[in-house]
């Protein structure tokens, strides 16, 4: 499978979380759980996004441990990213 660019991943993540503000700065260090838009419904979008782009399912027990976007990338596996 092709590797994904981090910027593209963050873009998809913003879409999944329905963050409409284009100027809102989301970086690798942004803590997902502290985002206003992060709730139980957005978790479903993230699961779908990961399946669509990486063909992977993340066990929810690992999902609970996620903090920053970087931690999400680590969970998916750095080898999938450029």
């Amino acid at each position: 499978m092709e590797k994904m660019k981090t910027e593209d991943f963050i873009k998809e993540l913003k879409e999944a979380l329905e963050i409409e503000d284009e100027d809102q700065e989301i970086t690798l260090e942004t803590n997902l759980k502290e985002l206003e838009e992060y709730d139980s419904l957005s978790v479903l979008s993230i699961i779908a996004m990961i399946d669509k782009n990486f063909g992977k399912q993340i066990p929810s027990i690992d999902f609970i441990k996620i903090t920053t976007i970087k931690s999400l990338i680590d969970l998916i596996g750095k080898e999938h990213f450029e």
Binding site: S40, A48, Q57, P59, S60, I64
Partner: protein
């Protein structure tokens, strides 16, 4: 010699729980967001003194308005919310409906896969000449298990019952079945207490799921993300296996009815599997997820709204609690 579905009716309890009601109760919940994301605007909820058996009775009475009840020689009741551990709720239902006494009747405990399993049972009973005219009722009241402060589950689940008549017929209208079971997922959709493994605990502590939904172990617990993971892996496979077993393809099908879990998940599965929007039933706006009743309600609605017609080949797939799943193809 074959089998066919000949009538479907359903009953929704009178009390409504709307998104606006939920927004009032849970300050950070948005009515608009709920409707857009999960596709639900309102759900019907049983009263305190109303049970799945009461709903089953009303749905059955509805379907028997246009069918001679003396022809029924078997009663199947699918529910996970029976009136008693014993006796069997369908025995009580036989009496309340004044069906003949020389018939078979039993309950079976399944959720979202319940209707497909019910069709498999009905087809088997008729094909083996055990019965000729079967009344299959799928009736569920998850709201009786859900904690008042569990905003997640109160948003999703509605109560309902559907009554379906399956009869012996000249041609076969019910196809081959693919059934599946994976108990490794049992903890992800469960009412932990109240059965015989863990008794009801009057001192059960409140548990916060981390996103503002409260429950105790006496209540329904659903791990949404884990269930979503399961469906992403299992449902595409069930679809291709069911198509294969029935020697047909997605293109050959006229319509597809999945268990109506929630709009987001159902739409993702549609897209992943490659089912065209116009062939795919997706509507739980006014019912919510009614568990084993979603598929028969969908078929009835699709028929009434002329989305399907006589002769159409329709794929049915149920999946969920257990984990349990099943697929088949019916000819309307």
């Amino acid at each position: 010699m074959g089998t066919k579905i000949s009538n479907i009716e359903y009953y929704l309890p009178e009390t409504l729980l709307t998104n606006d009601d939920l927004e009032r109760k849970f300050s950070d919940w948005s009515s608009e967001k709920i409707e857009n994301k999960v596709g639900i605007r309102e759900r019907h909820i049983v009263r305190e003194d109303e049970t799945a058996l009461d709903l089953a009775l009303k749905a059955a009475e509805k379907v028997l308005k246009n069918y001679d009840k003396d022809k029924i020689d078997f009663l199947l009741l699918c529910t996970q919310s029976p009136d008693y551990y014993l006796p069997t709720s369908s025995c009580i239902l036989q009496d309340k409906l004044r069906l003949k006494t020389n018939i078979g009747a039993f309950d079976y405990n399944l959720g979202c896969s319940g209707f497909v399993y019910g069709l498999a049972l009905a087809k088997s009973l008729i094909t083996s000449r055990v019965a000729k005219n079967i009344l299959l009722i799928t009736s569920e009241t998850y709201n009786k298990h859900i904690h008042p402060k569990d905003k997640g589950n109160r948003t999703i689940f509605g109560d309902a019952a559907a009554a379906t008549i399956i009869e012996k017929s000249e041609e076969e209208h019910i196809g081959e079945f693919v059934l599946g079971t994976d108990g490794s997922g049992y903890k992800n959709l469960i009412v932990p207490n109240g059965g015989l493994r863990n008794r009801y605990d009057i001192n059960a502590k409140e548990i916060d799921d981390g996103s503002g939904s409260i429950r105790t172990d006496n209540n329904l617990y659903m791990n949404g993300p884990e269930i979503f993971n399961f469906t992403i892996k299992a449902v595409p496979k069930v679809v291709s296996e069911t198509l294969g077993k029935n020697n047909t393809t997605l293109d050959d099908l006229d319509y597809v009815v999945f268990h109506q879990a929630n709009k987001y998940m159902n739409e993702y599965l549609r897209e992943k599997i490659g089912i065209p929007k116009e062939k795919y039933y997706l509507n739980l706006l006014k019912t919510g997820n009614t568990v084993s009743a979603t598929i028969p309600i969908a078929i009835k609605e699709a028929l009434d709204n002329k989305l399907i017609k006589k002769g159409d080949k329709v794929l049915l797939v149920g999946f969920g609690v257990g984990y349990s799943w099943g697929g088949t193809i019916i000819k309307i």
